[in-house]
Amino acid sequence: MIEVRWHGRGGQGAVTSVELLAVSAIAAGKFAQGFPSFGPERRGAPVAAFTRIDDKKIDVRSGIYEPDVVLVLDSSLIGLVNVLDGLKPGGKVIVNTAKTPEEIRKDLNFNGTVATVDGTGIARKEMGVPIANTTMIGALLKATGIMELDAMKDSIEHRFGRIAQKNLNAMKRAYDEIKISK
């Protein structure tokens, strides 16, 4: 089982991403859970969302305390929220930022795998909006290999209709452009 914790701010689409990812994983025949951090949440405030994906039925229903992967949708949260909290030894951090993995490694004082991609920049170019939630799914898939990029196609099309292709293009670019440093 892989457990992913997403950090973002209310309104940036972390919950949409965990939902799309879970729906796609289930459509691909896997078992998955996608859920928000439960509670009242406000636009702009730090939020978390969670994904579990496994090849067998998932029984656990508690929160995720020791994620395998942390994905930071908004790099301004670094220093504000302990994004490394509970990260498993050997875990990975993926950050939406124009910085290099080495710079983020220093910011986080972290020795494990760090991956970065300028998701917001890509989203701006491909979709004309600075919303990188779907873009960063591409980064997550590349950094973890949990699923093929193609597995996202149906759920993105179902969700976004005529703007689906732009989302898929942005996702593909993040998949191709992510820099991973072990």
Partner: protein, 391 residues
């Protein structure tokens, strides 16, 4: 054929209810139930569900509206949570006394105060004696299956009672997870159209919900008690039929690794799945631990419960609500009284857990087992404790 999809559980439940071809829904939004109401109203607005969606002004009105519609012969549905259920409370015994088959989802949520929107069972527990059948779902699939089966149970001529399907708020309602949604043909084959015993109609006047003084009131209460006790047989039949048609069968009490267990834990609702992992961990360490899951809260499954716990030395009952100043959590009280007359019964321990959304990890379940296993003198048996409370 049904299809396996990833859906938020509330949406899956609304889809399941639509497959039951309801005639009318009266729902007032409240977290964490609201997505059921939203999705049902979308289905009606999009022309995918031919039903009357009544946008009531409160939960009291929601329950009043479904009572009226059910009396007129409609297949009805409503859903609520917490304060909404508390506001409906006044009408719940009326629905059952009128013997109206109403299906209601309760997205279980803590009751105020303080205000809290997260999951526990403090909303359903005060409704215990309302004369409603009450069932608990453990995961999204069960929420779907039990919702569809609820209509068939409620409308059965030997039952004619309202049913609540309890679905833990957030832990279940807000989870996107795999669910097999049956096809319309499958649901049609399972659930025949509703044939009411009597209906309110101007051309054939009848009186429903009439006044009754001491001359008949006791008899009516006895009749209601008999009705809900008799519903047990139909519940078993309908769940068996569901199992035969869909391959997923349900029992009033289900167990996991309990047959040879020395120590059992009892859960109701979504926490059973996490507890299962704790059982596996304990088994791995050589502890003969097992799980008992109470699916049917009313009518209470006495025989099944007794059978499930008869060989255990210790039984840990978990409660998700408090009976303030009472003998322990509400489930604990029921279990104790159910086992009181048994010649041989396990020592019973009670933990009140997961109040107002307090998360319960696998380690919490293991911790409760460890604590009870260590109590060799049984000093804590027959008492209750708030698990993880800061004092």
């Amino acid at each position: 054929m049904g299809k396996r999809v990833g859906l938020e559980v509330t949406v899956a439940v609304a889809e399941a209810v639509a497959l039951c071809r309801i005639d009318m829904a009266g729902v007032y939004p409240i977290t964490p139930q609201s997505h059921i109401a939203e999705h049902l109203s979308n289905l009606v607005a999009d022309g995918k569900l031919d039903a009357e969606f009544v946008t009531v002004e409160s939960e009291h009105s929601a329950m009043s509206a479904v009572i009226g519609a059910a009396a007129a012969g409609a297949r009805v549905y409503t859903a609520t949570s917490s304060q909404g259920l508390m506001l409906m409370h006044e009408l719940l015994p009326i629905a059952s006394a009128m013997r109206l088959p109403i299906t209601m989802a309760i997205a279980n949520r803590a009751v105020s105060g303080p205000l809290n929107i997260l999951n526990d069972h403090s909303d359903i527990m005060p409704q215990r004696d309302a004369g409603w059948i009450a069932v608990f779902a453990e995961n999204g699939q069960e929420a779907v299956d039990l919702s569809i089966a609820a209509f068939k149970i409620a409308e059965h001529k030997d039952v004619m009672l309202p049913v609540s399907v309890n679905i833990d708020g957030f832990q279940l309602t807000h989870m996107v997870e795999p669910v097999i949604l049956p096809s319309q043909e499958e649901v049609d084959a399972f659930l025949p159209p509703f044939v009411p015993h009597a209906t309110l109609h101007p051309s054939n006047p009848v009186t429903m919900g009439a006044f009754s003084m001491s001359d008949y009131f006791t008899e009516i209460m006895k009749a209601k008690d008999e009705a809900i006790k008799n519903s047990r047989k139909v519940i078993l039949e309908v769940w068996d039929e569901w199992g035969r048609q869909f391959g997923r069968s349900y029992k009033p009490v289900e167990t996991y690794r309990a047959e040879d267990a020395d120590i059992l834990m009892l859960t109701m609702g979504s926490m059973g799945e996490t507890a299962k992992i704790a059982i596996d961990e304990l088994r791995g360490k050589g502890v003969r631990a097992g799980l008992v899951k109470l699916r049917l809260w009313r009518p209470f499954p006495f025989a099944e419960l007794k059978a499930a716990v008869k060989n255990a030395q210790k039984l840990i009952v978990t409660d998700r609500a408090v009976s303030f100043g009472g003998p322990g959590g509400p489930v604990f009280s029921e279990i104790k009284s159910a086992l009181f007359a048994q010649a041989r019964r396990p020592s019973i321990y009670n933990y009140i857990i997961g109040l107002g959304g307090r998360d319960m990890a696998v380690s919490d379940f293991v911790g409760m087992f460890d604590q009870v296993l260590a109590d060799r003198a049984q000093a804590k048996a027959d008492t209750y404790e708030f698990w993880g409370v800061r004092e």
